[in-house]
Each structure stands twice: as structure tokens, then as C-alpha cells.
């Protein structure tokens, strides 16, 4: 109290609470320089949390509406309450405000670039890699995804002698998954197959490390193994680069990676004219009118295809390739094309792990709210398992969650790569591409449960729905895993 009185004493009339009039920005002298008022510190965590949520929401709508004055005032208020090392809500708020601030700052590209020079397009900062590692260690989600994916692959590859596994890579990709698969294949009753592993990754270094590690492991386990690195980003990956040979049983695994394709779509939308992809076998199958877009893109074909295309275009007005998908999907020709070309590899199984949240809404506020809810649950996971002062936790929050949040909130266009979408959307896309759902097995569920048991934390759950799994934090699904198989129409 004494401090408070002093504080008031030291500030003149400007510190009058009239400042809360939002058009008069808080005088920096009174608010930012002086130590925060004690009552702020004394606010109960719940109160502060609700207050922060409210402020964040307001701030987001101001930013969305371009009312920078108001947004600024909100940010100023939040800054008094938020703290990257405080309770969960404070931490969340500090990351979301940073994201919002960045977004605001982006309207002055000069300023923005001066403050945030574009990162060199090389390795991601080592801290980001570390954060990934910590996330892998401290939260069960990635491990769960690996375990379930591997189980699905294992089951689909039962009895196969030559197995080709394609890992679509991405930052969550990890050699651990394949080491585990090697172990599991080794234990097959019919003996291990010949395994060829293709990993797509944009960093050669990562691929080299993975290669060394897995080759050693395979040697140890005495499994015929071949590692095939593909240095590429998913959005410019040509399926030919995967070098799938006939006779191989193909399995495709994507862990938290497919959504990056959606960004490419956005970017590509600006660039007129799509690059031609290799003709997929899909194009030979013109019976699906809904695939007409793919057909269009792959178009090099027969009269029948031409007719089909005309038919499709006639049925759905050609001016809106967006609404013609009729599935409420945003137009994502690139993604669809890519999936269709994967389908063309006739994989026996394709396992897709994705974030179960829609961070690809067109409006900022919708995205913001979704992201807030999603990351709140993730922060809660950490809160309940990792002590607050943990360096690892701070790193995950800053370098992984924080970066994703920034990307979701602050970026637009091709730069916005974290376009997580819910399973329902992926189901539509996969089915559009010709995949059929492959229900995940009970055994996979058992393995997932066992893994969770070994974590010994109550909050994590695995839920099954229509043969797909959701990894939940309490009741909130955070990640989805679905398995797909090549199916003919």
C-alpha cells in the first residue's frame, strides 16, 4: 500500500485514472517507467486471466479492424498484466500480444524489417531445434503420433517383403520414429522386410544425421535398409523425387507437415499459372467430376478427359473453382494436386498427423480465437507437467508455440505457413484425392494408451472417432491422426 501511495504521490495529474480514457494513451512516464502498481501484482490469477482474455480479444478485434490507437491501448494494458514467466494465461498473453504487435508493425514494412530482419534461409535457429526436442520430450503428442503412425504402417505392411516408407518431413520429423519402426519390423513374426526410407526435409544436415543414425540402427538390428534423403520443401516436392519403384509397398507418413502445403496454395494463387505436375494415374480416372480441377491441371490427356473436364466445368460454373469443390473447402489446388500425386503412388497406407484446430480462417479474429484456445490447452499441458521456471519450458513456449502463434497471427499470404486445419477438412481433401479411410487399430490405441500411462499424467487422453485418433488434453482434442489407403473408385 505504501508503495502505491508513493506511486501516486510521484505522479502528477497525468496519472489520474482518467487515463483509462483510451484515446489518451497512458502516459509512458507514469505507466511504463514507474514500477507496476502493486494491485496489479496482487490480482488473483483467475481474475487476471479473465481480464487478459478479454483484453486480448478486444485487442485482436482492434487490430483486425485496423484501429491501431485502440489496439495500442489494449496492448499497453496487457503488457501490465502479461508476463512470459508468469502463470499460464500471462504467458499466453505475452506471446499473443507479441504476435499482434508484429502484425500491427507489418503495416509499416520498413519499420518491421528494420526490427525483424528476415532470417537467413538456412538452418532454423538452434533454439528452435532445441524447442522441438523439448516438445518431443515433455509433451507426449509427437511420440504418440509416431507410435500410432508406426503401428498403422506396421499393420499395413504385414507380410510385405519390400517396404518403402516416405516421411514427408517437416520440423516435427524425427529419426526416433524410424528407429522405433526398425525395432518393430525386426520383431515381425515373418521377419523384417527390406526397408527403404525416404525422408523429405529442407535441411541437408538433418538428413545426414538421420541417415547415420538409422543406418547404424538397421545394421545393429540386421535389417536390410536403405536411406534415401530428399532435400526439398514440401511445396516444391515432385513425387518423382521420391523414386518409388514398382513392387514396393509404399507407406507415407506426415507428422504436422501437410498444412504447410496450404500456404503454398495461397502464395501460388498470386502467381498466375500453376506449374505442371507429373500426370498422376488419377488423371486416367475421369469418373470423378469433383476431381476436375486436378484433371485440369494435369491435363494432357485423352478426349475422354477433355469431355470430362468440359462436363465438370459445365456443371460447376468455371468462374468459381472455389465453390465448385462444394465441400466448403478453400481452394487449394496445390494441396489437392500434391495429395492426388501421392495417391498416384498407390500407397498401402498414408498416416497423417495434424493439429486439430482451424488456424486457417480467413479473418484474423476467428484465427485468433482458435489459436488462443488451442495454445491455451498446450500451455496448460506444460503448466501441469513442467515447473514454471524450467528453461526447457520457456524455450518450447517461446521458440515453438510462440513462433507458431506469431506465424498464425502476424503473417499473411505465403509466409503464413502454420495453417493448421481440423481433421474434417483433411478428410475432405484426402477423399477428394481418392484416398479411402483406413481405421486405426485397437492395438494402436493400446500402444498409445500405454505410452500415455508411462507419462503418468492424468490430463492426456487418446480418443477414437471413426477410426481416427485424437490426442487430447482433457476434453480438448489437440492433434489428430488419420490413416488412409489407396483406393480405387
Amino acid at each position: 500500500m505504501g508503495g502505491m501511495v508513493q506511486d501516486e504521490g510521484s505522479s502528477s495529474v497525468t496519472s489520474s485514472p482518467m487515463q483509462c480514457f483510451p484515446l489518451i494513451p497512458l502516459s509512458p512516464a507514469a505507466q511504463l517507467m514507474s514500477p507496476p502498481v502493486p494491485w496489479l501484482r496482487e490480482l488473483k490469477s483467475d481474475e487476471r486471466g479473465l481480464c487478459l482474455i478479454h483484453l486480448l480479444h478486444n485487442c485482436a478485434s482492434h487490430v483486425a479492424a485496423g484501429q491501431l490507437e485502440h489496439a495500442n491501448a489494449c496492448l499497453e494494458h496487457i503488457s501490465l498484466l502479461a508476463a512470459p514467466d508468469g502463470d499460464t494465461m500471462q504467458r499466453i498473453a505475452s506471446h499473443f500480444t507479441e504476435a499482434l504487435a508484429r502484425r500491427v508493425l507489418r503495416s509499416w514494412p520498413g519499420l518491421y524489417r528494420a526490427l525483424h530482419p528476415p532470417a537467413a534461409p538456412g538452418r532454423p535457429p538452434p533454439d528452435a531445434l532445441l524447442a522441438r526436442r523439448h516438445f518431443f520430450d515433455l509433451c507426449p503428442f509427437v511420440r504418440l503420433a509416431f507410435v500410432v503412425s508406426n503401428q498403422a504402417i506396421l499393420e499395413a505392411m504385414e507380410g510385405e517383403r519390400v517396404v518403402h516408407v516416405v516421411d514427408l518431413g517437416g520440423p516435427a520429423s524425427d529419426a526416433a520414429q524410424w528407429a522405433a519402426l526398425l525395432q518393430a519390423l525386426r520383431a515381425r513374426p515373418e521377419g523384417p522386410p527390406h526397408l527403404r526410407l525416404t525422408v523429405v526435409h529442407d535441411h541437408k544436415e538433418f538428413l545426414d544425421l538421420t541417415a547415420v543414425r538409422l543406418t547404424e540402427e538397421a545394421e545393429r538390428l540386421d535389417i536390410p535398409f536403405q536411406f534415401h534423403p530428399v532435400v526439398a520443401r514440401l511445396d516444391n516436392l515432385d513425387v518423382e523425387m521420391l523414386r518409388v519403384k514398382t513392387g514396393e509397398a509404399v507407406a507415407i507418413s506426415s507428422v504436422l507437415q501437410l498444412h504447410t502445403l496450404l500456404a503454398a496454395d495461397d502464395a501460388a494463387a498470386a502467381v498466375a499459372g500453376h506449374r505442371r505436375k507429373t500426370p498422376s494415374p488419377l488423371a486416367k480416372n475421369p469418373s470423378m467430376a469433383q476431381l476436375h480441377r486436378i484433371v485440369q491441371m494435369n491435363y494432357q490427356g485423352t478426349l475422354g478427359e477433355l469431355l470430362e473436364k468440359d462436363h465438370a466445368n459445365g456443371r460447376s460454373p468455371s468462374q468459381d473453382s472455389a465453390s465448385s469443390s462444394s465441400l466448403a473447402l478453400a481452394p487449394s489446388p496445390k494441396t489437392e494436386c500434391f495429395l492426388a500425386s501421392l495417391w498416384g503412388l498407390s500407397p498401402k497406407v498414408m498416416v497423417v498427423t495434424e493439429q486439430e484446430s482451424n488456424h486457417n480462417a480467413p479473418t484474423l479474429t476467428a484465427r485468433f480465437m482458435e489459436a488462443l484456445n488451442f495454445y491455451a490447452a498446450l500451455f496448460d499441458c506444460l503448466e501441469s507437467t513442467v515447473p514454471r521456471m524450467s528453461v526447457e519450458r520457456a524455450r518450447i513456449e517461446k521458440m515453438l508455440f510462440g513462433e507458431e502463434i506469431k506465424n498464425i497471427i502476424a503473417c499473411e499470404g505465403g509466409e503464413r505457413r502454420e495453417r493448421h486445419e481440423k481433421l474434417e477438412k483433411w478428410v475432405q481433401r484426402q477423399e477428394l484425392a481418392g484416398f479411402r479411410r483406413l481405421p486405426l487399430s485397437y492395438l494402436a490405441m493400446l500402444q498409445a494408451r500405454r505410452l500415455l500411462q508411462s507419462y503418468g499424467c492424468e490430463g492426456y487422453k487418446v480418443r477414437e472417432e471413426d477410426g481416427c485418433f485424437f490426442f487430447c488434453w482433457h476434453d480438448r482434442p489437440l492433434f489428430s491422426v488419420s490413416a488412409w489407403r489407396f483406393g480405387r473408385f
Binding site: 502505491m4 506511486d7 501516486e8 485514472p17 482518467m18 483509462c20 480514457f21 483510451p22 502498481v37 494491485w39 496482487e42 488473483k44 490469477s45 483467475d46 481474475e47 486471466g49 479473465l50 481480464c51 482474455i53 478479454h54 483484453l55 480479444h57 478486444n58 478485434s61 482492434h62 490507437e69 485502440h70 489494449c74 494494458h77 501490465l80 502463470d87 499460464t88 494465461m89 532445441l130 526436442r133 520430450d137 515433455l138 529419426a175 526416433a176 522405433a180 525395432q183 543414425r213 484456445n373 491455451a376 490447452a377 496448460d380 503448466e383 501441469s384 507437467t385 515447473p387 526447457e392 500405454r450 505410452l451 508411462s454 507419462y455 503418468g456 499424467c457 492424468e458 477414437e464 488434453w473
Partner: protein, 598 residues
């Protein structure tokens, strides 16, 4: 069919009783039954055992209810009350008592094969094609997979649903274990291998990353994370306890120091007459309420005297709890008024002047503000709807429920829970005016009312817990207000300006609260004084126990009755404030009366 083939010799040699047979079968099957869980550990029986869930296609499929499956010893001996799982066994037992007994004779050579499906619809063995071959098997399966694990190993705390599993485990527990380099122990090879797959990764990575991370990871893989979480929770709990302890101290200070008596003169010195309500107050506490709207010179004088008054001084210095209660309420109030206030920019000056000239307390000032804000269209729209009270009405019952629950389970709300709460509050904002009825009808009856009474009654009795509870409650109310303010912005045509005010006022309110009720005062000393005054009023409410309780309820009634008589916006204040908190009551009641007279 698990071991029908293997037990075939029994038919000839011992007795031709299939039930008895089953008993044997059960004994012999007790070891291999674990193979239902882990098919790879198929016991080395002479004849190869069928894989679980590959029944003979012509077998009769039997679906038993979970109750039957869980039932043990359904057949009771009437002599010694011993229970048996099978009737045949009971019959054999009866023979020992010299009671009449009868064993069912096997009728045909060919036993009708039976297979059993699991009643759990999500289970693979629910499907008749994966039915299990024997009754014991399905029972154990059901227990293991869908039952409670009530048998715990004393050594390693592993739990089992089937007692025999525990027995089997306890034979090997501690003898056969797999130890990973990271120190984690496993009793089963497969889980060890699963672990190794990841632990290897850890070892590899940690070689690259020198953070000592691998230990963390591996520990996490084991059980230590639970311990972590627990210890954290514990600390939270203790902190809560601390808090409540504190609060009880506060109460002791407030009440025990005889603050009530200090207030009496203050109250009596006040002149409530200008604020007399249009209707006779339902309880005397309204006078108490009016008391804080003192004559101005009187008030200043009392401030000075209070400054030297030790108990109050102490009270004022009381840490968070006290200030927080007041904080939340005042902030909420401020929000409300700020909204109005900001919509009418001209009222800025009027407030200032009113403050300066009259040195009123906040509530009075607000009423001024309202009178000045009256002319502006925005302010009227702002308060034309019933949403304020609606909101309260909608929020209250649910809040009570949730707060109760949270209280018991979570020491601190998680961000997810907070977001849910925020969303709830947001959704209640959009509720229709019918909610108002909900409030008025609900307030005199039902749990809500009693809980209020409990809160305030308890608070005045000095129970820290209750006070804390009350505080939380107030917080919620406050946030209801905030979200309301926010929601309103949308409601009112979504004009950006209003929205901004809604948002900013929230914290604006908090800032004000730093200065107690001096929120609108520009002068320094005014702020201090107002804060003192605020503390007084709160202390008063804490001290003057019974009357307040009645008062509160009275206000509730009052609110309802005022519905027709008083113009709507004042009614809002009545509702918000009265339900906000007892400390504010003085102000609130005066406000509503104020409004009535205006």
C-alpha cells in the same frame, strides 16, 4: 474355444461333467489367460491354443451383461453362506453338508460350443467374429480391459483388475526387470523396447545438445512427471490455504477491532435524506447503505479522523485480499460507468468538477455522471437494454455451480478453463431479456439466494474460506461486467469507438481501483481519502454482519420491486452493485435510490 481340445481327455477319465470340466479348465487356463492381453506370450500348452478371438464359426454366441460378467460367487450355500461361481460347484459343496445335491449330467457327447462376446461395444471382442472361447476368459477380459484395477502390487504399485494377474505379477515383480540406461525400470520386455526406441533417441540427441535434457526426458517417461505436477498442485493448495488464513486475519482485524462501532457514528452522522428511496426500504440496512453517501464536509472530516484511527489504518494496509475484493468490485463498477461515461465525452468535465467540488465518493459521482450523460443518445442506448441485469441473471447460477466445483478440484484455473469461462460469459451476454425474469424469479428462491446468504453471513462471521469464495464470486461478477462491456460494444452497432472503450475500460477500472474509489478524482489527496473511505465502507460491511446479510437480500427484493418504479438504467445499478459485493452495497443502494429520486 480356449482349451476345449486340451481338456478332452478329462471327459473320459474323470467325469463327464462339462461344468466340472470348466472348473479344471479354469485352473489350467489361469496361466495362459494372460495371453488374451498379450498373444505373443502364448503358454506352452501341449495342444496349440487358439488365438484369442478366433471362435469356431458354428459356435453359439453368448452375450452376457457386464453385471453377470463381474458377478462373483452367484451360487450361495444356504448353510454356510459360502459362494460359488458355478452351480455345479455348489452342488458338490452341498454334498459335504449332507444336503441333497444333484449334478447336472452331461447329456450328449458333443458339447455345444459356446463363445462369448464382450459387452463393451467399442471393444474388438464385441464383434462375434472375435468372440472369446470360454466364460472365464471373457470375464477376465472384461475385468482387465473395462474394469477397475483394484489389485495393487505393494512393491511396484502396478495395478491389476484380476487378482490372479496380481498374483502372477507378484511372483516375478522385482525379479525380472529391464533397466534402461536412463534408469527407468520395466518389468515387461515389450514396454522396455518401446521405451528404448525413444530413449536411444534421447541419448543421441543429448550428446548433441548439452543441456542435461536427457534426464528430464527419461524421467518424464517414467512417473516423475506426476510427482512434479503433484508437488506443484500441493504448493498451490498451500498457497490457497495461506490466502484463506490471511483473509481470516483480515476479518478478525476488521470485525474484531470493533470497527463496527467505529462506523456507527459515521453512519449516523451521514445524512441519507437526499437519497431516500421512493419506496420504503425493505430493510434497515439501506440506511447503512445510504450512510456512505455522506454530506461532503462531514465526510472529509471523518476521513481525517479515520486517518488517525489505527484499526482502519491496519485494515487499509491489509494485503491482497482486502484490496482485491474491493478491487474487483470497484473495477467492475467503474467499467460500467466508464462505458457510459465514454459514450458521452462531455461528461468528462462534469465528473471532474463534481469530484472536485463535492469530494463525493464514487457512487455519488457516478450518479452525477449519469445525470449528465442522460442527454447523450449513446448513454441511453447503452443502458436501454436490460442486458446488464440479464447478464447477471444468466451468469449467476452457472457461476455458482462452476465456482463451487472449481473450488473443490482445481486450486487454480487453467487457461483452458478460463477461456471456457470467458466464452460462457460471452455467450450469456447475448442472452435475451427473458433472462431478467430468470433473475427476478430466481433471486428470492433457490440455491443462489441461499448461497449468497451463506457467503455474506459467513463473511461476517470471519470465515476465511467463505470470504475467499465470495471474492471469487465477485471476480466472476466483475468479469461478467467486463465481458458485458465488451459484448455491448458489439451490441451497439459495433462502432469501433465504443468497442474500444469497452476494452479499455476494463483495465481502466483496475487502475482506478488502485486509488480505491478515487478513480475519477483528479486530485491526489482525494484519491487517498476515497480509498480510505472505501476501506471504511468495506470494513463496515464486514463488521456489521447481520444487517448486511439482510440488507443484501433486501436489495435483491428491492430490485425486483423497483422494476416498475425506477427508470431502467438505475435499476441496473441496483442489481449490479448489490450483487457485486457487500462492501459496495452502501454505494449501490444509495445509487439506486439516487436514481429513483433523480
Amino acid at each position: 474355444m480356449a482349451s476345449t481340445s486340451s481338456t478332452v481327455p478329462f471327459y473320459g477319465s474323470i467325469r463327464e461333467e462339462d461344468e466340472h470340466n470348466q472348473m479344471k479348465q479354469q485352473q489350467s487356463a489361469s496361466t495362459p489367460t494372460s495371453s488374451t492381453a498379450a498373444p505373443q506370450t502364448t503358454a506352452p500348452v501341449k495342444k496349440k491354443r487358439n488365438l484369442p478371438g478366433n471362435p469356431n464359426p458354428d459356435a453359439e454366441v453368448i452375450a452376457l451383461s457386464p453385471k453377470t460378467l463381474m458377478a462373483t460367487n452367484r451360487f450361495i450355500c444356504e448353510v454356510c453362506n459360502k459362494g460359488f461361481q458355478r452351480e455345479q460347484n455348489l452342488q458338490l459343496h452341498r454334498r459335504g453338508h449332507n444336503l441333497p445335491w444333484k449334478l447336472r449330467q452331461k447329456t450328449t457327447k458333443e458339447v455345444q460350443r459356446r463363445v462369448y462376446v464382450c459387452p463393451e461395444s467399442t471393444c474388438v471382442h464385441h464383434d462375434p467374429s472375435r468372440a472369446l472361447g470360454d466364460l472365464t476368459g471373457i470375464k477376465k477380459h472384461f475385468c482387465r480391459k473395462h474394469g477397475e484395477k483394484k489389485w495393487k502390487c505393494d512393491k511396484c504399485s502396478k495395478r491389476y483388475a484380476v487378482q490372479s494377474d496380481l498374483k502372477a505379477h507378484s511372483k516375478t515383480c522385482g525379479t525380472r526387470e529391464y533397466r534402461c540406461d536412463c534408469g527407468t525400470l520395466f518389468s515387461r520386455r515389450d514396454s522396455f523396447i518401446t521405451h528404448r526406441a525413444f530413449c536411444d533417441a534421447l541419448a543421441q540427441e543429448s550428446a548433441r545438445i548439452p543441456t542435461g535434457l536427457s534426464t528430464i526426458g527419461s524421467h518424464l517417461f517414467g512417473n516423475s512427471s506426476m510427482a512434479l505436477g503433484l508437488s506443484q498442485e500441493n504448493s498451490q493448495i498451500t498457497s490457497l490455504q495461506d490466502q484463506s488464513h490471511q483473509s481470516s486475519n483480515i476479518l478478525r482485524l476488521g470485525g474484531g477491532s470493533g470497527s463496527g462501532s467505529h462506523f456507527d457514528p459515521l453512519i449516523s452522522s451521514s445524512n441519507p435524506s437526499p437519497f431516500r428511496p421512493p419506496q420504503p426500504p425493505p430493510s434497515s440496512a439501506f440506511f447503512l447503505g445510504g450512510g456512505s453517501n455522506q454530506d461532503f464536509d462531514e465526510e472529509t472530516r471523518s476521513h481525517h479522523s479515520l486517518l488517525q484511527n489505527k484499526p482502519f489504518h491496519g485494515l487499509m494496509q491489509l494485503p491482497d485480499l482486502q484490496s482485491r475484493t474491493t478491487a474487483s468490485s470497484s473495477a467492475a463498477a467503474a467499467n460500467l460507468f466508464n462505458l457510459n461515461f465514454f459514450s458521452n465525452s462531455s461528461s468528462t468535465s462534469s465528473i471532474n468538477t463534481s469530484n472536485i467540488t463535492s469530494n463525493q465518493n464514487n457512487h455519488l459521482m457516478i450518479s452525477d455522471q449519469f445525470s449528465s450523460g442522460n442527454g447523450s443518445t449513446e448513454s441511453t442506448t447503452l443502458f436501454s437494454g436490460n442486458f446488464m441485469s440479464d447478464h447477471m441473471a444468466a451468469g449467476m447460477p452457472s457461476l455458482f455451480n462452476t465456482s463451487m466445483r472449481n473450488e473443490s478440484s482445481l486450486p487454480q484455473m487453467s487457461a483452458t478453463a478460463l477461456l471456457q469461462k470467458a466464452a460462457q460469459m460471452g455467450s450469456t451476454t447475448s442472452g435475451g431479456s427473458s433472462l431478467l425474469q430468470g433473475f427476478s424469479s430466481a433471486s428470492p428462491s433457490g440455491a443462489k439466494n441461499t448461497s449468497f446468504q451463506a457467503i455474506f453471513g459467513g463473511g461476517s462471521n470471519g470465515s476465511g474460506d467463505v470470504l475467499r469464495f465470495q471474492m471469487e464470486n465477485e471476480t466472476r461478477l466483475q468479469h461478467l461486467m467486463n465481458s458485458l462491456a465488451n459484448g455491448n460494444a458489439g451490441l451497439f452497432g459495433g462502432s469501433g469507438g465504443v468497442a474500444a472503450f469497452g476494452g479499455n475500460c476494463t483495465t481502466g477500472g483496475h487502475e482506478q481501483e488502485a486509488g480505491g474509489f478515487g478513480g475519477f478524482n483528479s486530485g491526489l489527496c482525494n484519491m487517498d481519502e476515497a480509498r480510505f473511505q472505501h476501506n471504511i465502507s468495506s470494513a463496515g460491511s464486514l463488521g456489521g454482519s447481520d444487517r448486511l446479510t439482510r440488507d443484501f437480500l433486501g436489495v435483491g427484493n428491492m430490485v425486483r420491486s423497483m422494476g416498475g418504479g425506477v427508470s431502467q438504467r438505475e435499476q441496473h445499478h441496483g442489481i449490479d452493485m448489490s450483487s457485486m459485493d457487500p462492501e459496495m452495497k452502501s454505494g449501490s443502494s444509495s445509487q439506486s435510490f439516487d436514481g429513483g429520486t433523480l
